[in-house]
Amino acid sequence: MRARWTAVVAVAAAGALALSACSSSKSNKPSGTSPGNNTGAVTDSKVEVFSWWTGGGEAAGLQALIADYKKKNPSVDFVNAAVAGGAGTNAKAVLKSRLQANTPPDSFQGHAGAELQDYIKANQVEPLDDFYKQQGLDKAFPQSLIDEISYKGHVYSVPANIHRANVLWFNPQVVQKAGISSPPTSVADFIADLDKVKQTQPDVLPISVGDQWTTEHLWETVMIGDLGADGWNALWKSGANWNDPKVTQAINDFKKIMTYVPSSSYAADWQTASKQVIDGKAAYNVMGDWAAGYFTSSVASGGLAKTAKTDFDWAAAPGTDGIYDWLSDSFTLAKGAPHPSAAKAWLAEIGSKDGQDIFNPIKGSIPARTDEDKSKYPGYLTWALDEWSKDKLVGSFYHGVVANNAWHNDIDNAEGQFLKDWNVSNFQKALVDAAQQDAE
């Protein structure tokens, strides 16, 4: 009898413990230091940084940054809270749960630009204006970049790198065989070149695409190619005219380009699509410059170990010469960060010349600062650096710079529908509606 009662008590106690464990998370509040007027002395013993850099050059670059951070802040215990998943799809869900539960990491990754708006409006990140001045970042980054990542005149994140979205990758042998001597300079030229490939080499895909987002990426570059930098930038202001016949033209061009790749030839992901160019199975592929990292990095680190200019070549996406369609990974200071001083030291590390020159050659991107050590950026990156210093800047749609999450999601859906029914006017109407509903 006694044994039974003990068992009952034990079970009840276990239940109570389980319950109390669930409710205790809120008591872990920040220690009261106000991050706004902290001036640099690191008083924390720990920092937790949240990102989606878990593989390839990204993870290696992050590790190098962490090593440098530890050298400069030996007393701080660095917690690398990285969640796997391309473009942060899984990480963002995990982060959202943590922010909702009021247990934010000290600093978290986000694409610079409008993608951060929801965090800003929900009051989940701290403004970094004073920090920018104190670190001299307001002088180190190009002013047009700072303007793009500011919301209502305040900056909320420190960009770690710059990627270029509008790059046309091609296989030099295939293109030469098709009798094409120079890369296309307009979207119309490009369509003519696709046709040449199709006529001369029926076994080769004129252009390769991967899953849905890669087609959105292609659509973005076609839009920029047809509308130009100013036309594209204007679309993302409130009250923009998405009914413009130039938009119709761009959608028609996109549709025309997509006729060169039947739906049965869509690759499973962007790597497979880009690899088709390397393998000579496709002539062209439009992808961001992370493709260069994938092409040239060693087989051991998941790359293809190919040589620039001989195994693959590149040019600005058709019609976008002189335009830099950029995107950037950036880090924020979370509101209520438990370790604000160590988090600021982390942001300082990312924004510093050293930090950017450590991280970017490994990640395969260029620094957002303009005072980099050029010798560290060989091959494709030399070209990218040169373009970055002279091109007109436009923000990427797919990669979070110009559209907030709701707008982005509406365009994703409209585009997905378009890939099914190819109805140009429906697509444009959906784009007009999305802009009306979601622009701000």
């Binding site: 869509y266 499973a268 529908q417």
Partner: protein
């Protein structure tokens, strides 16, 4: 006296109390919370979320992707439930003939159930690669090599209803072994005397199954439909691991996830969740009613 009575029920109650409390909070409490959000206007993370009645439940149908994802979900359900039932029944029928090595066959057919939908999805993603002709791989390659080139198709990249039918194939493959086990148990539950009596009365083998065995399998059929139906209406992982967030193959659960996490629209996401729950309830509630009734009869 009183004390003695308490001794009868109190230990039992204490024993189940933790699970009652946990279920009350984490199942019913959260369902309630979901409905609360679904009835609010919390369309952004920074919205407070005021009560707005049932407007989300009608407005959601104006979202084109929602209606197409519901349609996709229904096609998936039809092919998956129908396919798994037919294949499972057929396998059980063969097993019932007391073939040699039945045990090992049973194990082989049941094995896929031990795999997660994500692993199944990754493998079938390769099997169902869509390129035709020279670049074909997976099933398309197999068809080409067997001289059945005309059977090559676009699988989940198709823009007609066959995209969802292709996505249902791995699910059928995975679950039909389980359905076989259920039916086999049902077959074995039919007393041999009944079959013999029917044979003595001149029924052939087909008639024995049609008029003697099948009518007694109704509970098994119902159980199978409910198990498959609720898996199918909630399906997320299999579809996501094969074709990601593509609108072409979006199902209600993926829609819900995208609304909440990509877009930050908790209200519409919760509304989608509520609809999924209601759809599952359509399957489960009649089963519970039937179950309670037949328990009472006993």
């Amino acid at each position: 006296m009183r004390h003695a009575r308490a001794r009868n029920w109190l230990p039992g109650l204490l024993l189940v109390a933790p699970s009652i409390i946990l279920v009350a909070i984490f199942v019913y409490g959260l369902i309630g919370w979901n409905f609360k959000v679904a009835l609010s206007d919390q369309h952004h993370d920074y919205d407070v979320g005021k009560f707005v009645g049932t407007e989300n439940f009608s407005n959601i149908w104006d979202i084109r992707v929602w209606s197409s994802s519901v349609k996709n979900g229904l096609i998936f359900t039809l092919v998956f439930v129908g396919g798994a039932l037919l294949l499972g029944f057929f396998l059980a029928f063969l097993m019932d003939k007391a073939i040699k090595g039945e045990g090992s066959f049973r194990a082989v057919y049941l094995f896929p159930m031990a795999i997660s939908f994500v692993a199944t999805g990754v493998v079938w993603k390769w099997l169902m690669a869509s390129p035709h002709g020279k670049d074909a791989s997976g099933l398309n390659r197999l068809f080409a090599d067997l001289g059945l080139g005309s059977l090559q198709n676009d699988w989940y990249n198709s823009t007609t209803w066959t995209n969802m039918a292709s996505l249902a194939l791995p699910a059928v493959w995975q679950m039909s072994g389980y359905i076989m086990a259920l039916f086999l148990a049902g077959f074995r539950g039919v007393p041999e005397e009944l079959r013999e009596a029917a044979r003595v009365d001149g029924a052939n083998e087909w008639k024995v199954y049609r008029y003697v065995v099948l009518p007694q399998l109704r509970p098994v059929l119902l159980t199978s439909v409910i198990i498959l139906g609720h898996i199918s209406l909630k399906i997320f992982d299999l579809v996501y691991s094969i074709n990601g967030k593509s609108v072409n193959t979006e199902v209600p659960a993926i829609f819900m996830w995208q609304r909440v996490y990509d877009r930050g629209d908790a209200a519409i996401g919760a509304t989608a969740g509520a609809y999924i729950l209601l759809a599952v309830a359509v399957f489960v509630v009649p089963y519970l009613v039937w179950f309670v009734r037949s328990e009472k009869k006993r």
